[in-house]
């Protein structure tokens, strides 16, 4: 029998009634590279957060056996003490501290009574950095001076400093170019030779099939299968089949399609990162939306969908924006969000709590916020009674479960909050609605209602852009889908061509021919 280092049994985790993980099993052999695959939201990160104690014992059900003993981690320190270290997608480095300081961040080498031993810190840091291929690096410079790829390696060095036995990497190569990715994968293999077990979450299936010893596929919070190198076939097609192979049931309301002429057209749209004007986030993207059409944008996390949407929405994101934007054939020049709203564009953010709502205020207040200057006021004086009438009307029409429009939105459920956001934007009377992940984190019933709202909007002849990471949803709701990858259009699908496999293949094909990042 092989040597099992970790076994997670029957793990179930709920987020306010929604099952994120449902009876998941994972078993990892000592010294292997074990990959976790699945769509966005399948539950990969949740599972790893349970393993590392971020979701403490008691918040989930099921057992974790590590080195044969049962573990009940209450926080991340406890799991680290046992040698389990997680490296998240977003780097957890302190940008202005030196490389050496970052390697021992939270784990400082101290002499008696908590005084940091700098001599030893530098010595050990140099040793560890050599293991991850950063031998020639100056360890005294601030870590932010390093490239993202090298910072990723510092993260691994940080894990090594904690005497890691089981290293968890959450999409380590997501923001790296090919060269850096290869280097990183090489390091992972060399760690494997030193006996360190590695669990790796990645969307880059070609990488996984070359590095991983076994692959566990998770879908909809359930383990689907575990493929083992040498026993099972490990190919991209095989993995994709496991990731998306699910029946489409009638989860989407039907719609009569009456698609008109081109309503919005975006040409050669390019956007640079707001903090780093050298970095292209959106590269020469062109697309169009017809009146009465729901156009989907598919892509993996970080593909640039939100950035594209926000840059169109009155330059709410990015700098050095170039390209043209046409509405009904006429060129639009939008300098700010206000211009965008006045010209009939609405954008409902993916982050409704952070960017959509003012949680401490009530439903009425939030619903009218964007349309206040031109719909509910005269000479800047607000007509509160009009506000109440209009927001009551939307509360009833969209079936928002609240006692009155005076209820604070922070107290509403996610689905109802989302309906408030949609009301807010419909109130501005838009011709183009950009809905960014409108069904994220809400239950199935509320999702259905949101789809119905989208259908209704399309029926009224509005152009709708629907951004979602849930592919079945895109396939169920949209008339046409653009696939975005690394800030570029990787492909376009008409309704007849819709399939998850095609979308995945488009993304992977585009990723493969990706040049090294600028």
């Amino acid at each position: 029998m092989s040597d099992i280092i970790l076994e997670m049994k029957n793990i179930t985790k709920e987020f306010s009634g929604v099952k994120a993980l449902d009876d998941v099993n994972l078993s990892v052999e000592r010294g292997e590279v074990h990959a976790l695959c699945g769509e966005n939201g399948a539950g990969k990160s949740t599972l790893m957060n349970i393993l590392s104690g971020i979701y403490p014992y008691g918040e989930y059900t099921g057992d974790i056996l590590y080195n044969g003993t049962e573990c009940r981690f209450r926080d991340i320190r406890e799991s680290e003490r046992r040698g389990i270290v997680i490296i998240h997608q977003e780097l957890a480095l302190s940008p202005y501290l030196s490389v050496a300081e970052n390697v021992f961040l939270g784990n400082e080498i101290t002499s008696a009574k908590g005084v940091i031993d700098w001599h030893k810190t530098h010595q050990r840091a140099a040793e560890i950095l050599e293991c991850v291929g950063l031998a020639e690096e100056n360890i005294s410079i601030p870590v932010s001076k390093l490239s993202i790829g090298r910072q990723q390696l510092v993260e691994i060095a940080k894990a090594l400093a904690k005497k890691v036995e089981l290293l968890i990497l959450d999409e380590p190569t997501a923001s790296l170019n090919d060269e850096d990715s290869q280097k990183l994968l090489h390091i992972i293999l060399s760690l494997k030779d030193q006996g360190i077990t590695c669990i790796m979450i990645s969307h880059k299936l070609n990488e996984l099939s070359s590095v991983a010893d076994s692959i566990t596929v998770i879908r909809d919070g359930k383990t689907i299968e575990t493929l083992k190198k040498g026993i099972d076939e490990i190919s991209e097609d095989r993995i994709i089949k496991g990731m998306v192979g699910r029946e489409l049931t009638n989860r989407y309301p039907p719609r009569e399609r009456k698609i008109g002429g081109v309503a919005f057209e975006v040409k050669n749209w390019s956007v640079r990162h707001p903090d780093d004007p050298e970095r292209a986030v959106i590269n020469n993207v062109s697309f169009h939306v017809n009146a009465g059409e729901v156009v989907g944008f598919a892509g993996l996390m970080g593909a640039g969908r939100t950035e594209l949407a926000m840059s169109i929405f009155g330059r709410a994101y990015g700098c050095n924006i170039s390209g043209s934007l046409k509405k009904d054939g006429k060129e639009l020049r939008l300098r700010c969000v206000k211009d965008a709203i006045r010209n009939g564009i609405a954008y409902a953010s993916e982050d409704r709590k952070g960017y959509g709502l003012v949680l401490i205020n009530d439903i009425r207040w939030n619903m009218t916020l964007a349309s206040l200057p031109f719909r509910f006021s005269r000479k800047s004086v607000i007509n509160k009674n009009d506000e109440i009438v209009a927001s009551e009307e939307f509360r009833k029409k969209l079936n928002i479960k609240a006692n009155s429009v005076q209820q604070t939105v922070g107290a509403l459920s996610g689905g109802n909050q989302q309906k408030v956001v949609l009301s807010k934007w419909i109130m501005t009377g838009p011709d183009l609605l950009i809905l960014d992940e409108p069904t994220r984190g809400i239950d199935v019933g509320a999702k259905y209602e949101i789809y119905e709202i989208i259908n209704e909007l399309a029926k009224q002849g509005k152009a709708v852009i629907f951004i979602s990471s849930e592919m079945p949803e895109l396939l169920g709701v949209c008339d046409r889908i653009y696939v975005l990858n690394q800030g570029e259009i990787a492909g376009e699908l008409s309704r007849e061509e819709f399939s998850q496999e095609t979308i995945m293949k488009m993304i992977l094909a585009h990723a493969r021919k990706e040049r090294p990042a600028i």
Binding site: V358, V381, G410
Partner: protein
């Protein structure tokens, strides 16, 4: 059934929060009336109460806008001193006419506010830092322009705005008591206005088909308002009538309450404070909002500077020391959220009056200034803690 009663409970708790501080103010006032043997209800003391606290109220009104965005303005005390100083110089040294001097000083207040606003809104320097720096700058400039000396005495026309009264009409004696009729009439007019406004708002509501509160509630509410208004106007009528600063204060309260409650810019201030990201994506120019808030604060500081120098009949280098903290405390005591996004002008005014009544009452019963500071600090700490705890319970 249970849902409905929960809704009612919630509505009740909101009301309690709105009126809680007002009730606290009345209770504190009554306690000191008992402790001081009625001294704090004497006509002269009522008059002093308004005069002594006028600048804190003026500053608190401006400060509330800053607090709504989750920030503060630390420079107001220094700006009060500086504007008071240049106003005195304009009148005494340059021989300017008083109205012209006032106008120029208010204008410089606006410019000072804009100067800070540029750094805060457009250069994105944290407001705390910008206003801390300007607190030092304007305190220093005050010392420079005044040569470290007190400038005075200021002419009578100047002093009126801080220590004078509205023209007295029809003063006559009822037995041996002097009664100032303008104040009495103002009280009656105020009462009528309150009734008129209430009727108008209810008419509008019922024309939209909204539920109108039962008659007894409206009557009780109006009765309390009318009693409070007339209590003060009659007391003031028994002294020298309506102080000019009271009129200025009331005007500002009305303007700023209308601005924050009923206008688009006011709503935008709350939006920026409640969630700046959501505000930006709703088409609100958050930087512009911040700019005008600090400009308004500059104007209020200049106004307070004029009133303070008038009341003292002189400009001194140490004027306005610590006023910023009183104004900030007034906002917090009045229920403004420390993180921004919620708070009312009336709350800030009530907060300022609570501190004023505490100060005044403790002085009357002979407590030392040291103890007064401790008590004020405890009240601030207690008010904010209670506010936060009650919010946590509601959430």
């Amino acid at each position: 059934m249970s849902e409905k009663s929960a809704a009612r409970k919630k509505a009740g708790s909101i009301n309690a929060k709105q009126y809680g501080m007002l009730i606290a103010l009345i209770v504190i006032y009554l306690i000191f009336t008992l402790l001081s043997g009625g001294k704090n209800a004497s006509p002269m003391n009522i008059n002093n109460l308004f005069m002594q606290n006028s600048y804190v109220v003026i500053l608190a009104v401006g400060m509330l806008l800053c607090v709504l965005t989750g920030n503060v303005d630390l420079s107001v005390g220094s700006v009060v001193a500086f504007t008071g100083a240049i106003c005195a110089i304009f009148v005494l040294d340059l021989g300017m006419s008083i109205p012209l001097a006032f106008l120029l000083v208010l204008l410089s207040g606006v410019l000072i506010g804009m100067w800070q606003g540029v750094f805060i809104a457009y250069l994105r320097v944290p407001p705390f830092v910008v206003t801390l720096a300007n607190m030092l700058i304007f305190r220093g400039l005050t010392l420079v322009v005044l040569n470290g000396q007190t400038k005075g005495p200021l002419p009578a026309g100047y002093v009126t705005i801080g220590a004078g009264y509205l023209p007295e009409i029809n003063t006559y004696f009822l037995g041996r008591t002097k009664v100032e009729m303008l104040s009495v009439l103002a009280g009656l007019a105020g009462s009528l206005l309150a009734i008129f406004m209430e009727v108008r708002s209810q008419r509008k509501k019922s024309s939209y088909g909204f539920a109108v509160p039962p008659l007894w509630q409206t009557a009780a509410k109006l009765a309390i308002i009318i009693v409070i208004i007339n209590f003060f106007t009659v007391k003031l009528a028994l002294y020298n009538g309506l102080p000019v600063v009271l009129a200025i204060m009331l005007l500002l309260i009305v303007i700023y309450t209308f601005l924050t409650d009923n206008t688009v810019p006011g709503r935008q201030i709350y939006a920026v404070g409640g969630n700046a990201n959501a505000a930006r994506l709703s088409g609100i120019k958050t930087q512009r909002v911040m700019f005008w808030i600090y400009t308004s604060m500059g104007l209020m500081s200049a106004l307070a500077g004029i009133v303070l120098s008038a009341r003292n009949a002189s400009a001194t280098p140490k004027a306005g020391d610590g006023f910023e903290l009183d104004a900030i405390a007034a906002c917090y005591i009045g229920g403004a959220a420390a993180l921004g996004g919620s708070g009312t002008i009336m709350g800030a005014v009530v907060g300022a009056l609570i501190m004023g009544v505490l100060n005044n009452g403790m002085s009357l019963i002979g407590w030392s200034v040291d103890v007064q500071k401790v008590v004020k600090g405890l009240v601030l700490l207690g008010a904010v803690t209670v506010d936060l705890l009650s919010k946590k319970k509601n959430a």
